[in-house]
């Protein structure tokens, strides 16, 4: 399909140029300007801030009195200089921490982060908890510090880096008796978050290969409960941008991120839209809502093949714009526009919630409205699926009855010259066409009919 090839080229061009631009900008910039800005914000009096120096690197802040020589009043440091390995959900959260010489935390300011913006709305209240605490205190999340709801990894990273950094500075520079870091629990690899996603993909692939509706339903339900409700972790454009920015979470603390990304990519290039068809938590939500609408006998919104076919390009437009914007801004949070992230993270502005309600309502009247026309990560998965090794194809005996076209719930099949042409980026591998074909000549097989796809 020429259009899909063109879209793939545009995607690659934006992704590669954007990533290069981002890394070029990163190589030109450093944190010094941000640190200076935060310091002038915190120390508004006559204090004198000395340039960053020493090991561990820090700013010494002196009290200037007319009668006395300069007296050290506080020390400030960038947590990244001391604890570069502590990461939030999407890479390090860089903080500037200012400590008085008696060990009291004067202020904690965010310098840089790539966390979900809806969490940033509550980050200020979270930071306020550190103010006035003594660095010798315990900083355990959930005990001494309240975490940000559904952003445990971000909260944990902040608490641990303040704790470790402040205690190191306290011991080495201020020579205080502060003891060891309290928030540093030993890291253990959580095998359950490798096994569950692995099982999830096995069940989903089993459903596709075995044409088993029960397995597909089971995978969708597990995806909804585990990925949506329990982990609030889904494949999204934010991850795609983070990959371009080379920002990866810590494998030991977040193996699910790696499993999900790797298995989605693999399944897409081998079989097609396995993730979108049988795993995505929001897919299940939309399908249930749509069936509810039919149960209630509400009129379905049907669109013509032609217009719906053109409208599907909207999601590619969204994908390209959010990718470009994120790389230009230099923060993957700009890409956080996907409705499922808002819904399952349960943090959003009024506009975000209005959008969720809008899309959920549309899902009642049109099958997978979001997936078909708007989902940017669905668009990306579709581009991979278009090149998948195995595809649903029809045999030479096809008489052109058009049953498959009629039963396809996502409108991925169109009869052209009495032959079904499948739009692979739209096909969710539900197998309805395969099951209903009266001649039983539609089957999932190795991609041998490249020439028979739409628009060629």
């Amino acid at each position: 399909m020429k259009t899909n090839r063109f879209l793939s080229i545009v995607f690659l061009a934006i992704f590669c140029t954007g990533a290069l631009y981002y890394h070029f900008r990163q190589s030109q910039s450093n944190d010094i300007n941000l640190e200076n800005k935060a310091l002038t914000d915190i120390f508004t009096g006559p204090e004198k801030v000395h340039p960053k120096l020493g090991s561990p690197p820090r700013y010494d802040i002196y009290q200037t009195r007319p009668d006395n020589p300069e007296v050290l009043a506080a020390v400030a440091f960038n947590t990244y200089d001391i604890t570069p390995r502590i990461k939030g959900y999407a890479g390090p959260v860089k903080l500037l921490v200012a400590i008085s010489t008696d060990g009291t935390i004067k202020d904690v300011r965010v310098l840089k982060h790539s966390e979900t913006p809806s969490y940033v709305f509550t980050l200020d209240e979270f930071m306020a908890q550190f103010k006035g605490k003594n660095i010798a205190d315990s900083f355990q999340l959930g005990k001494d510090i309240d975490g940000i709801t559904r952003a445990t990894m971000t909260s944990e990273a902040v608490a641990r880096s303040v704790d470790k950094g402040a205690k190191a500075i306290g011991r080495q520079i201020l020579e205080l008796d502060v003891g060891g870091p309290s928030g540093d629990r030993p890291k253990t690899l959580s095998y359950i978050h490798i096994i569950v996603p692995l099982m999830l993909f096995i069940v989903a692939v089993g459903g596709v290969l075995g044409r088993n509706t029960f397995l597909r339903g089971l995978a969708l339900l597990t995806g909804f409960v585990y990925l949506g409700l329990i982990k609030s972790t889904m494949v999204s454009v934010v991850q795609l941008v983070n990959i371009g920015m080379l920002k990866f979470p810590d494998f030991v603390t977040n193996p699910l991120w790696y499993c999900l990304v790797v298995m989605t990519l693999l399944s897409s290039v081998i079989l097609g839209m396995v993730y979108c068809g049988s795993i995505c938590p929001f897919a299940g939500v939309q399908e249930v809502l749509f069936h509810l609408g039919r149960k209630l006998k509400w009129e379905e919104l049907k669109f013509s093949h032609k217009v719906a076919g053109q409208a599907r390009y909207v999601k590619f437009g969204i994908l390209f714009v959010v990718l470009a914007a994120s790389f230009i801004i230099g923060n993957s949070s700009a890409a956080n526009v996907e409705v499922f992230l808002i819904l399952f993270a349960a943090h959003a502005s009024q506009a975000g919630w209005a959008f969720v309600v809008f899309i959920l309502t549309l899902s009642v009247f049109h099958f997978r409205f979001w997936c078909k026309f708007l989902c940017p990560i669905g668009a990306f998965n579709g581009l991979l699926a278009d090149k998948s090794i195995y595809k649903i194809q029809f045999g030479p005996e096809c008489g052109g009855c058009g049953v498959c076209d009629k039963v396809c719930p996502v409108g991925a099949i169109q009869m052209v010259d009495d032959k079904p042409l499948i739009d692979y980026p739209e096909c969710t591998l539900c197998n309805k066409c395969v099951e209903k074909c009266p001649k039983e000549i539609l089957f999932l097989t190795r991609n041998r009919q490249q020439g028979l796809t739409k628009h060629d």
Binding site: A38, I318, A351, F358, I359
Partner: protein, 80 residues
């Protein structure tokens, strides 16, 4: 009940997509603003001492204006 024809549904689709794109744009705008504000002050949200600014304005013989920007930067001006 009036059933929408395919043709009229296509028009509805165009309107729905336009609305969706506008909402996505608004959400993206909010995200970008939240990142910008975070970078602006070195913290998640800048804090402005409105009373101090107002006092300075009054000192200069001006009347403080209840600008909408107070809200954007999350400062709450006192009612005069």
């Amino acid at each position: 009940m009036i059933k929408p024809t395919i043709k009229s549904s296509d028009k509805i689709l165009a309107v729905l997509l336009l609305l969706s794109v506008l909402m996505v744009g608004q959400i993206m705008n909010e995200n970008i603003n939240s990142i910008r504000l975070a970078a602006l002050s070195g913290s998640a949200k800048p804090k402005v001492d409105v009373d101090k600014v107002k006092a300075k304005l009054r000192q200069a013989g001006l009347t403080p204006y209840e600008a909408k920007y107070w809200k954007i930067i999350d400062a709450r001006p006192q009612k005069d």
